[in-house]
Symmetry: D2
Subunit: 438 residues, 4 copies
Amino acid sequence: MTEFFSNVKPIQFEGKNTDNPLAFRYYDADKMILGKPMKDHLRFAAAYWHSLTWPGVDIFGQGTFERPWMQPGNAMELAHLKADVAFEFFSKLNVPYYCFHDVDVSPEGANVREYVNNLAQMVDILGNKQEQTGVKLLWGTANAFSNPRYMAGAASNPDPKVFAYAATQIFNAMKATKTLGGQNYVLWGGREGYETLLNTDLRQERQQLGRLMQMVVENKHKIGFKGTILIEPKPQEPTKHQYDYDVSAVYGFLKQFGLEDEIKVNIEANHATLAGHSFQHEVATAVSLGILGSIDANRGDPQLGWDTDQFPNSVEENSLVLYEILKAGGLTTGGFNFDARLRRPSIAPEDLFYGHIGGMDTMALALEKAAAMIENDQLAKNIAQRYAGWNEPLGKGILNGDYSLESLASYAVDNNIQPVKESGRQEYLENIVNRYIF
Amino acid sequence: MTEFFSNVKPIQFEGKNTDNPLAFRYYDADKMILGKPMKDHLRFAAAYWHSLTWPGVDIFGQGTFERPWMQPGNAMELAHLKADVAFEFFSKLNVPYYCFHDVDVSPEGANVREYVNNLAQMVDILGNKQEQTGVKLLWGTANAFSNPRYMAGAASNPDPKVFAYAATQIFNAMKATKTLGGQNYVLWGGREGYETLLNTDLRQERQQLGRLMQMVVENKHKIGFKGTILIEPKPQEPTKHQYDYDVSAVYGFLKQFGLEDEIKVNIEANHATLAGHSFQHEVATAVSLGILGSIDANRGDPQLGWDTDQFPNSVEENSLVLYEILKAGGLTTGGFNFDARLRRPSIAPEDLFYGHIGGMDTMALALEKAAAMIENDQLAKNIAQRYAGWNEPLGKGILNGDYSLESLASYAVDNNIQPVKESGRQEYLENIVNRYIF
Amino acid sequence: MTEFFSNVKPIQFEGKNTDNPLAFRYYDADKMILGKPMKDHLRFAAAYWHSLTWPGVDIFGQGTFERPWMQPGNAMELAHLKADVAFEFFSKLNVPYYCFHDVDVSPEGANVREYVNNLAQMVDILGNKQEQTGVKLLWGTANAFSNPRYMAGAASNPDPKVFAYAATQIFNAMKATKTLGGQNYVLWGGREGYETLLNTDLRQERQQLGRLMQMVVENKHKIGFKGTILIEPKPQEPTKHQYDYDVSAVYGFLKQFGLEDEIKVNIEANHATLAGHSFQHEVATAVSLGILGSIDANRGDPQLGWDTDQFPNSVEENSLVLYEILKAGGLTTGGFNFDARLRRPSIAPEDLFYGHIGGMDTMALALEKAAAMIENDQLAKNIAQRYAGWNEPLGKGILNGDYSLESLASYAVDNNIQPVKESGRQEYLENIVNRYIF
Amino acid sequence: MTEFFSNVKPIQFEGKNTDNPLAFRYYDADKMILGKPMKDHLRFAAAYWHSLTWPGVDIFGQGTFERPWMQPGNAMELAHLKADVAFEFFSKLNVPYYCFHDVDVSPEGANVREYVNNLAQMVDILGNKQEQTGVKLLWGTANAFSNPRYMAGAASNPDPKVFAYAATQIFNAMKATKTLGGQNYVLWGGREGYETLLNTDLRQERQQLGRLMQMVVENKHKIGFKGTILIEPKPQEPTKHQYDYDVSAVYGFLKQFGLEDEIKVNIEANHATLAGHSFQHEVATAVSLGILGSIDANRGDPQLGWDTDQFPNSVEENSLVLYEILKAGGLTTGGFNFDARLRRPSIAPEDLFYGHIGGMDTMALALEKAAAMIENDQLAKNIAQRYAGWNEPLGKGILNGDYSLESLASYAVDNNIQPVKESGRQEYLENIVNRYIF
């Protein structure tokens, strides 16, 4: 087995002042931050699909990457070759985890049986690779959106046979994930939505999707999978509307089907912004609802209306995201998966390293900034002071249910209350944040 | 009492071919549509605020309307004058309902006591006006967002005194609504959201808001109000983020606080589009979740990112909305309220009539198109056929819980299933819709 | 040669009340509208790429269409087969024109020489097809964006060899267009823009692009091509930013390079809306600048931030577009090209007809509505009256340059002018428009 | 005269580690950067309107600021008081420049004569203030958009009397600007656009606007004003469409009226993003067209579709903007004007300082980062290398016009060219940028 990235040595931490573009400036895996090594806070993962499977196509152009394993040939042999390169890449990058879809690692085959057999074979190979390299599986998932059979949805398809096909993939992908020691299993319903309301029964499709989620949870317990089940919200693309639109939509869904204690969310930065929210908003909302699970670290382009899946490079944005996560106690089974891909003209093999190094350094530095913010938490103190009235008798009484609307109105009129306005101090607080970042 | 709209006679239905711009071409109140008079399907309401209270300001310019009741003077006398003009307008327009915020009809006063007294006086006057004219109240609401005291929210304010002030307004506005025979009571949380996450406790504010909603429902039952409580979703503006973002977000909120059988949604077209959804989507989603209550009929501008509140003028868009509503059995206590305002340069008093006539004709014609679509419901037939597999053993079994993920996967592999793709026929269905509209 | 669309007979006009989904309800080619047959107003064209070449992929999914000519095989034989089906389709659709990119009709080959030879062969075949069927060429163009060599632009590429390659395609595509009697030649700079400013020299790339445009114009005159050169604006996608962003950007570009009398614009509805404009706006702007050339008729999805290229189905929107075009005297060499594609799940061959029939009927009906608006042009009369002051001494004097800023200020102060506000009457005018549409 | 900001002492540079929120951490006015004091690079200005005139209203709420000069009273006395506070503010902030609209500083009066007289009086007062404090005028402008007379435009109004009124304001505002030593004069056509195409004559309005621009330039030369005339692009708001949509649109306009050497652009960050561009894009585009004049420093909210005019706080974004400006040789007569306002709940007088201090520190730090990027300009070197082919014979020949389309095509075929793809290296370059920022 020859190296694909023959010009790249394992990426090391060299510190802020290094000139080496193939070194980490901030990601120092064992550096202690708030009592825990950086790597255990961040639990980085690389994504098999963007890094190994995506050929550099876009909707107006053919693939630019032309990797050896994308050439014509025997599907299983090419999958082996791809796995070799994948683990060479993960190892050299020093990323502790990876993530995959079933069909990233294993050929779909001509039919469902071949699919099952192929995947089983590839799981053996991946298991060996994991053992050899020490790279672990953050999460697995099933791709139930690319094959033409899913053009009208997977669980929400009008044809129950398609539901059954998707269930087969999910069952086997969960099994593979368990076998490989995966710490989470993710559901992204790429086609669980509609192209047009004119041919769609919303209530019916919601029932179908709800039943699938329940089956996944039941299966988790049955097979003894100890990881977390995660749903990844996205508002649209490829569909016109996706049911798991944003964190709030997923929460309502989970409540409807009684799954709010069983399933958490995997939040992607670019999906958050496509849904009209900031990345921080989606994370903070999930925390406030108790359903934060894991993160797909990337970024969108604020001027573009589709999923650009760029590598994160904003320390400013991610410091606030990490602040929310640290404040919530950190991730448990989750991690930061780089659901990010090279720009289509970034065709050099080294570009894969530049993208990930930039992303890892960005998140590592953001972690340091967030940790500093937490240590002397001026934002939290300001919030505590701002809401202090809710710990006093009136505030407590209201939240405890001591007041009816009528008795509270009487209180107000009897005391002729005149609330005093207080500055919200947004600019002051923004300056404080920049004080930690710069 | 002199007429304000002295050039306008009561608006009559004159039919499609009339040249009279001050006549209805399609809104024929008593015309029977699917066994019910048009007026009972549509239950149109005019909005006190946009038509009477808004002075024609925008964020870059002063008021252009300069109505007599907007001049300096005694607040209660001006409120009387405004009520005179309001009911002259409603009567001449032949609109069966109106809607108001407390402070549209009644001066806020210097303090909470004056507020309560002013509103009580104005309720008497409005009651008399209703009796004289036959105009009824579709819904009332309290404005807990314009006064500077609400700059950081009403129920979600960091100061419980502000919560108490809002509660006082809501208590009195509910009382006024009940007294005036209102058929619904609406909550639009214009400032129930945040400007910046840096000074916001999402979990705390959600609890506060949830408690308010519960108090409103408890008060409804206590005072014997028979109408429907409605929440109006909006994603943002004036705040950066509003908690009642869209129908899905409201649904999750209602489920969390156990209110999904007590509160429904009032869907506004322009709020739907600001949230990244089509108007039809929000209506269809509410129907599918069983929480459709009422409609704020207007439109946004697809190129502008704020609430333009224009009068509806698209028969194409509204035919599909009315199709969803008719399919769901129609509105019950709800109606179509024109939450719409004149463009700022439309300063002539007659413009108020042009705006509403255009809106009413648009919705009336859309109703006729939708009724035709329902009568021989080709869309519904297509949907029934498309999902037919879910009424067969496999589909039924899946939804009934007869299959686990594993047994379904076994079924798929044992039968080596090969789902057959079927065209989604979107273009064909779009042509069918246009067949009804044109 | 066997038929591909064996279930479809030539599409005929059957009138509004037909139940036949494979008939025109409004497009009656020879019906006289304002003294000219409908077909000569509309000059419809079908697009080779979307209808014949695009396999039904999207960024998350494989092709769903699986047409015979998309299977593995000899490239030139498949191109022949595709041409057979294309002209069967155009003929049965009764569309008078078609449009193509060089590589839609002809295989790229392994190198530039093969490209030239292949195209020359296919031009012969297409010429024969045109003669047999009477279908004509509205415009040709070169695809200088799909091949990986164009990943960083064609004319604006950092490598002049890529410029030369693109020039070769354009030269040959112009030649093919002339040979086939094409009435226009289109330039869409799909990759003429940037992915990131960090690696881009804007001034340099603008010079390169300007030089290409000049070369195209010079070549047109040299080869005696009598058609019109058209630039198609688009703001972004596939690039982050495209230089021909919108009509205004193209106009500035043409002025800079002295080409404003040589090149016109081909306006696409979906590109207009992606650029933040209404379709009507872009058409009206081009008319006001004297550069309207042709139309790519389609629509976007108002909730989606990418080019969905759906078939036009809004009579409301297109009536206003056609009103602008009729008011400007109509298209000359231009036409309405359906740059529209089926939704990915619309896999049945008949769906291609449903899409185009819907589009053609929509535009035909819009033409009828627009013609009615023009015949007794109330909008134009209102505008003439609104701006009447500019035909009086003060207005004329200002535009003639009789006033300096100072003398005009003196005039204003000396006469203590007090302009009188007049209603803009937007709602009244919107009602008038609906009066013509419904 | 008593101080308004009695709790605030003049803001001093105290360095990065200060805990004083009322001190600069990075803005060290006299620090030399690339051979020039920081203050001469940045030429900061505070905006009279946002800081002194805007009362804290939004479209859903009343003013929250309740400053003494916003209370009822004699208009000229209140204007004096406002000027006192303004210069107290500018002085304590240590900002070298300010900017104003005529009606920010001076009451409009009951008619055009009073307007002229009031402004003349206030110019005397402002002149004295400037002398006392050393604060200078960066630019003046006329507000021809807030008064109801401008509801349908100023220069583009259908009524030439309104044009004359605007011309009077502009003439007097230019005179005031010259008298006060202003270094630029700005035109922002807030209402120069349309609400609806239905009542608009685009060609006519463009002529009117073009004539006004010419009159302004002629007047500049006549009165001997040595400053720069600037147009400020904005796409929309308050109008549906503004003619000066973005830098490209302004450039086309200037070319049409022969003004491209007379007028430059004042680019606002938030207007750039509303137009669908990045701030850096608009600056880089203006540089590439030779029309960069000045900057309105602020930021929008990426999730909101209106002009939020927040204070800049992103060092990441502004480092790239300053890099473009430094690379272009810096601003000459222009500067960085904080066209930014407090959030409506930021009601404390000190908040005005927090906002500006944050903005000034952000831009100062961004300047330092940009200067570091320029000193060893790796980005420029990469670009030079990337486009190197254009300095070789083929590239030079193409740009020099040595090739026709035909001869270039012959060259390509004869040499059977095969361009070699090179990585665009976007991720690598993004990492380099972050290397300078962090």
